[in-house]
Structure formats: C-alpha cells, structure tokens
Amino acid sequence: MSKEIVYPYIPNSAPDVKAAMLKDLGVSSVEEFYEDVPEKLRLKRTMDLPAPHLSEHELKKHVMGLLKKNSDCTEFSSFLGGGCYQHHVPAICDEVNRRGEFLTAYAGEPYDDHGRFQTLWEYASMMGELLNMDVVNIPTYDWTQAAATSCRMAARMNGRNEILVASTVGPDRHSKILDYCKPELRIKTLDRDHKTGQIDLDALQQAISENTAAIYFENPSYLGIIEDMGQEISRIARDNGAECIVGVDPISLGVLTPPADYGATIVCGDVQTLGIHMQYGGGNGGIIATHDDERYIKEYPSRLFGISTTDVKGEYGFGDVLYDRTSFGAREEGKEFVGTASALWGLTAGVYMALMGPKGMQEIGEGILQRVNYAILKLSELPGVKAPAFSSSHFKEFVVNFDDTGRTVAEINKALREKRIFGGSDLSQIFPELGNSALFCVTEIQNKEDIDQLVNAIAEIVK
C-alpha cells in the first residue's frame, strides 16, 4: 500500500485535482489548513486501527463473515417479544425506505423535500386514525423516549411533580423514565392485582394526590395483559387533575380500544411493529399523540407537521406547526430538545398502515389473539407449566411460569435452542416476584405448526 490510494468515496483524493485546488488556494499542503491546531493537541502518529478492507468485495466478506456468526429469527423459530417484535414486514415497506431519495434526505425545505413532509404528515394522519387522536408527532427515538417525554409534558402542563407508573411497564421504559424525569419528577410504582396482573384500583386511589402529574400505564402491558379498567383509571386521574398517559402497541389497535376512547389524554408507543425489521432492537420510533388542544400541542418537543395552502390553488403544502416551541427555535427555552430522530421508521409505518387498511389491522389483531389463545391453551396443558400466569386476556404476549417443572427458564431456553427455537424471554431478573417465568410472544407469523412444535419441545424438556 505504498502507492497512493485514490479512495472511491473521496473524489478529490485524486492527485491532480487535489494539487490544482491547493494551488488555487495558494497552499502547498493540506497540513496548512490545520495551522490553528496547537502542537500539543495534535495526534502525532497514525491512528492505531485495523488494516482496512479497501475493496468492496473484501469489506463485504469481512462484515458478512461476522454477521453470519449470528443465528437469526428466520433460521430459528422465535417466541421473543418484550418490546421488539417479529411481524411480517411487507416488501413495499423496505422498497420505499431504501429509496435513496428518502434514505439520504435530511433537513431540506418544504419545497425540495415536499415528499418527505407529505409522507410524514400522512404517517401522523394514519397513526391518528389508529389512535383516534388528532395530533401525532414526527416520531421521536422510541417508546422509552416517548413515555418519558409524555410524563414531562404532563408535568409541564399541570406543574405537578409526581408520576404514578404501573408495575407492568417495560423495564427499559421504566429505567428511561426514572433517569429522564429525575430532575423534576418523583416516580412511584403502582401495585398490581396479583391474580389479573392489572393495576390495583384501590392502590391507585390511595397513591394519587394533588401532586400527581400523571398516571402512566401500558395496554397491553409489558406482560401482554390487556388492562380493561382504562375508563376507571382515567376517571380517577381526571378527578384528581392528573393526566392519563397510556402506552400502546399500535398493532393491537385493529381489535383493541384505542386509549383515547377510555380517557387517555396523552398516548405514547412505538412504530416498530408496523413494518419495521427488528434489527437487534434498532427499529424503534416513538409515538406521542394527543387531542388537538393548544395546551398539549405547546408542550411537544418533537416536530409537528401541518398542512397548508400554497400560491397555487389546489396545491398542498406543508410546514412545521409552532416551530418556535422547539429547541431548534428557542434553544434551552424550547420544550426539551429535538434533533435527528426516527423519521424513516415513521415513514415506513405510514406505508404499512396504508397497505393494511382497516381490514388488515382487524385481521392481524384477530389472528394474533387466536394464536395467543391457542399457545396458552396448549402450554397450559403441560404438567408443571402455568400458562398464563395471570388471569386477564392477553394480546401477543403472556407470562408462563415454570416453577413446578423443576427447570429454570435458562435451562429450558438452552434446550429449546438446540431445537432451533428461541423460547420466551427470561423474566427472573426483571420481575423476580414472578419466580421462574418467561414472557412468550406469538404473532401472525407463527402458524399452528410452529406453536405445536414449541409446545412439544417444551413438553419433552420438562417431562
């Protein structure tokens, strides 16, 4: 590699043009441009980095070689959920989100990036239909961010300093809320009913006070439980002047009541289930939604796009609503902060919703309910296996307790892996009170054979 390399991604590393440009600037070497960097701050050696794979072929071989060391969920039959879900991703979702126009756009104007504005506005519009709410943000990072921001939005609105959080909130969300709300808000965990796994309404009544900025719960919860007392919970919140924040998996909303209908005032959630690959947990985008009420809208940190007219009759234009409320507009005087977020996944979720339509959403919801009920039914027939651990209705996920099998979840999952199955995720660390339990997830991509295979494999392992 002694000969000078002209890098394919660096056109002006070609010697002649580089020399010509230097000459044009009256400079003898690029070194001169760095004259302001003091000697003591210089790195006086070549960075100590692995030798590069200069050719595309070798690079691909190297990276694919590493990736092939993974076993993925197309090779294994997976029952993992817990905040990241394997649903079918329609080919068109990928077709659209890999188009260079979208993939490599960023922060253009409503003119040159009209398509970006329209697709993201349409995303928000379709999400609004799923949620039955009029205002939806351009997605923030993920549900953890959306939940934490929802709490702070509530507190900003009512000036209170306490959030009541259901005990069945996802652990990542819980952790994020704790950190993110810390300077201003106390987080209290609400007890749950031991049998149903749902929020204990008495405990809620006792915990709520005039300090309560908001109640936050998820429906279906992290444990797959459908909370059916939403109406009551939101009434209690309302009666006490608190906001009712509900986190939701939008793929459930073809069959489940949207939180707004049972009184949620702020809704958060994640778009990953809507046409986005799991990507080792990198496919998230955080939904925040409210009604069209200025008090709420003013508190969003995210960008909100609005529709408008143009100088030409019949032409749609778009732009930012209340841009000045953002940190882009007002630095630290803005609401929290905004920056690069998860636009591409929002756009993709839009494509997904447009493909699915009302019927698709209903059918996928119903199909998941059927499969989950079937999985529960079959697992519950196994000796020593308690499925589900809670008596409520479930959507997509459910807890299975293995206490009476004499096997730990870790052991069972290891044995399942030998059969090319990823069993449910181990809850024993994050919900120790559930004992030796695992969270199983079933989606529309599992058919009867897949579930039977799981059940038979577990039967064999625990027998």
Binding site: Y9, D72, G357, N373, N447
Partner: protein, 526 residues
C-alpha cells in the same frame, strides 16, 4: 449535428446552470386514494383447526377493550400504495441526488450502498435483541470492534452506542455529569452547565432537561467563545462545560484546552460535542484536549444515511473515570466471547430501548473498516480542502462574506453571511436558499437565534468533486446576481420544485392548523 457539450460552460468558463426541474406529481393525500374494500396486503390466516380450538376470540375480549369502530385508515390496493410513495420519494431531494453541501453542520457525505445491503440482510435485520448471547456473537463483535475504533479516534476509554442521535448523546452526557456530581455529593451545588452561543441548540437544551441551569458564552470579536466571559462564568456551581470545536463557523479554537483546564480546576466535567468530527479525524482528539466526555454522530462523520431525520446513533464516549456511569448494558469481550454487561449499579440506566440503532453501527463500522486510519485522515483532509476551496469562491461573490477570523483557514464548514446583499437588495438569505432549490440543491441558513445576520452554512465534506463544488457556487452566484438584476424571480421562487410558496399562517394558528388528515377534515367542515 452540433456539438452539444460545448454548451456546458459559459464564456467565462463557469458551468452553465442545469435546466433542472424536480419531479412534480401533484399527488393527493393518501386518504384521497381510498376505495371501499380495496386491500394492500392480505394477512396470514390462522388455520381452521387452530381457530376451531380457540373459538370466538373477539367475543372473549373484555367488552371495554373491544374496538367498536374500525380505524378509518385508507383502503388502497398495493400498486397504488407503492405508486403514491415512490412518487413522493421523487419529490424528496436525498443526498444521493444532489450536491448536498448546503446543509452545513449535517455532514452530508456519501452513504455507501454496500453498507445498506449489509445492514438489511436477515443475518442482521432479523435479530431479536433478547436472543441469547451465544446466538449474536457476530453483531456483538461488530459493536465491540467499533467501540475500539471510536476509542482510538477520540482517545477516550469507553463508548456507549445506545443514544438515538446526537441530542440523545448530549442528553446522556448531561445525565452522566449529573450522576457524577451526585455520587460525589455535589449535586445540590453544581447546577450549571456552560456552553457557547455557537454550540448546537441541543447542547443547552439537553442540559436543561437534565436539570441544569444554562450559561451561554458569547463569541468574542473573532468568533471564538469568549474566554474572559468564561472565566467570569465558571465557578463551583459549574457542573459541566459543553463545547464544540470547531463550532458552526468552522474556526478551530486553539485555546480549547484552556477552557477545559479551567473547568477542571473548578471541579467541572468537560463534554466535547463532536457530532461532526469530519474535519479532524486523525488530526486531533478529545483526549489530547483533556475532555472527559465526547460524542460522535454516526449519521455524520461515519456516513450512515440520514433517513429523512433518523434513525441514528450518537456514540457517547467517556474516560475511564466515568465508565461506570454509562447507560446499561455495555459490550464486553473476554478474549473468547462477547457479552452484554448489565451489572453496572452506578449506570444512569437506559437512554434508549435495548442497545441503540445497531443498524447504523453496522454501517459506520463498515465505513471505518473500508478506509482505515489513512483513509479516515484523507477524508478529513479532503473535506477541509473542499471547504476552503468553497469558502474562497463563495467569498468572491459580491454580497457574501465569511464573518470572523479573516484570513484564517476553516476546518470542515463555514457560516457565511448575506448581510451586505440583503442591505443592498432586500433579498434575504432564506430567499436565496429557496431560489437555490430551483436548481436541485439544498441550502441551510442557521439555527436560531441568528448571531450572524442573514446566515447560510455550507459544509462540503469529502464526497463531492471540484466540478460539483463549482456547480454549487454557480447556483449561489446566480441567485445573488438575480437578487440585483431580477429580484422578482428570486422572491417568487421556487419555480422548479414540486410545489410553490407555502402559506405559513395556518401553521401557527390553532383554528387552522391541522397536524393530521382527520383534524384537517374537521376544520374544513367548519
């Protein structure tokens, strides 16, 4: 037949402007495409046998939780869904398509397509984050290896790839700073973070979210953060210093370590916002300047595509001293196996779900591995060469200036000003930018508030040819010339974009704004 190519340049040898028009599809809103009962995709049905076993699952749902009205999503067949979106895509000006030097501070460099292929293969895309570590050794190795690369580039000791973008990393740094002082029992007294007026808005904003009061240093007459003001501001109340270098002006601050040293003396931690480190790779590092924390935007320096605004990664680095405070989990390697370490009792906790946008890590790792130490340094050097070339030519346009530090070279970007042009013609920087869109390029002014009057910010990166830079310059020159000779054409721009001048009033008026179609429908009914 006439030689067509000879029309490429004008008499002065400058490139003639492109006869450009962006695709204009005049596409309806997706709800307008709906036709009753059309289907975009069919859903895998459960087998009859399964259905028979479980019965009517809808009826079994708690009544309160049974949705009683289907969501009013549009009903559209698949070809029409595709057509709508691909048309809208053509109305979006991605970096693949344009000479994208006009979105200064965003580092719009080339995002290699091979990386996209790698990050989209099932061997990565179909990984679940809760898989057993034994089944994800490949991706953990990439995360670990990439962390080692970032450590060498920055000189810091440990990185988290979890934050969802630069702002997430800045927030994370503020949270770590908070926790650091808290563990030392100083949280009550250390409640200020100092930053500079040319730092990114997220520097003060994120620090504020983490509970700090913000102190903003003004620029001195040369555009550097004012060291005298800093001396006055820094105190035992100072928890941290959030600085960028170079700032959006592109001027390297040679006294950076003086700021750091003084802050350290007062017991504060120093965070280096290196969202964009593109001009200094292999030249100078956070370590040598004494910083305790820094971050890199993988969607800038490390070439991962911007995706209309994410997903992204803000890789957050710290010194050994702060390692225990990083978000959980971090990746460990024992020489044989890679694993996720959750056992970090002092950790600030989660910054984002799971481990971050690992797809961006796959791409950034690929970028680094395709260049190596020499290649990355070449990228930096050529980015800086391109920037100074651009600066020279832009400043030759009457009416354009590059305020501050005259005669000095800039690093990777420059904030320019049209102050003179605006005074002369009344045409503003924003109007120039919209006119530039008529020739197929982006143009960005600046964050708010505008410290430099009528600003615009260009950052050419290493990805563009000299001919492309010349074309961009010609577009800007043309707009400035028109501002004098034909101002109406500039004022009425855009002419060659998908749409025309957008009315801004409805966007800030609660009675009119419509953030969703349903809202728009309701307001139209009224």
């Amino acid at each position: 037949m006439e030689n067509i190519a000879k029309h490429r340049v004008n008499e002065k040898g400058e490139p003639n402007l492109r006869r450009y028009h962006q695709a204009r599809w005049d596409e309806p809103i997706i709800f307008e495409l709906s036709n009753k009962d059309e289907r975009g995709i069919l859903i895998p049905e459960a087998s009859q046998e399964l259905k028979d076993e479980v019965g009517d699952v809808m009826a079994a749902l708690p009544k309160s939780m049974r949705r009683n009205k289907p969501p009013a999503l549009p009903e559209i067949s698949q070809p029409q869904v595709l057509r709508h979106y691909v048309r809208l895509s053509q109305e979006t000006l991605g970096a693949d398509f344009n000479i994208d030097v006009g979105q200064g501070t965003c580092t719009m460099k080339y995002s290699p397509k091979i990386h996209e292929d790698l990050a989209r293969c099932p061997e990565f895309a179909a990984l679940h984050p809760l898989q057993d570590e034994s089944t994800v050794q490949g991706i953990l190795a990439i995360m670990y290896n990439f962390e080692q690369i970032l450590k060498e580039i920055s000189g810091l000791d440990r990185f988290s790839l979890q934050p969802g973008a630069g702002s997430g990393a800045i927030y994370g740094s503020a949270s770590i700073i908070r926790k650091y002082h808290e563990l030392r029992g100083e949280s009550a007294t250390r409640d200020e973070i100092i930053t500079t007026s040319y730092s990114h808005p997220s520097d003060p904003a994120c620090a504020k979210v983490a509970g700090f009061k913000i102190v903003t240093l003004p620029p001195d007459k040369d555009g550097y953060p004012d060291f005298e003001a800093f001396k006055a501001a820094v105190s035992e109340r100072t928890a941290g210093l959030h600085m960028t270098n170079p700032e959006d002006t592109g001027i390297y601050n040679p006294d950076i370590s003086d700021f750091v040293d003084l802050a350290h003396k007062k017991g504060a931690l120093c965070f280096y916002d290196q969202a964009n480190a593109n001009g200094i790779l292999g030249i100078t590092r956070a370590r040598e300047a004494g910083f305790d924390l820094c971050h890199f935007n993988l969607h800038k320096t490390f070439s991962t595509p911007h995706g209309c605004g994410g997903p992204a990664v803000g890789a957050l680095g710290v010194t050994k001293e702060l390692e225990h405070l990083l978000p959980v989990p971090v990746v460990e390697f024992d020489g044989e196996k890679y694993s996720l370490n959750w056992d970090m009792p002092d950790s600030i906790g989660k910054i984002r779900a799971f481990y971050g946008v690992i797809g961006a890590v796959v791409k950034a790792y690929s970028w680094a591995m395709s260049l190596g130490a020499n290649g990355m340094k070449t990228a930096a050097e050529i980015a800086v060469l391109n920037n100074n070339y651009l600066m020279k030519k832009i400043c030759e346009i009457p009416g354009a200036t590059a305020p501050y530090a005259e005669g000095k070279w800039r690093i990777e970007q420059v904030r320019y000003s049209w102050e003179n042009l605006t005074k002369e013609t009344g045409i503003t920087s924003e109007q120039i930018g919209i006119r530039a869109a008529d020739f197929g390029v982006h143009y960005w002014t600046s964050h708010h508030p505008w410290t430099i009057p009528e600003p615009f910010t260009l950052e050419p990166t290493e990805s563009y040819t000299k001919a492309e830079l010349d074309e961009y310059i010609a577009i800007i020159r043309n707009a400035a010339t028109e501002a004098r000779n034909d101002p109406e054409t500039v004022k009425n721009a855009p002419h060659n974009c998908p749409i025309h001048h957008v009315h801004h009033d409805p966007l800030d008026d609660p009675a009119q704004w419509a953030i969703t179609w349903r809202s728009y429908q309701k307001k139209m009914e009224k």
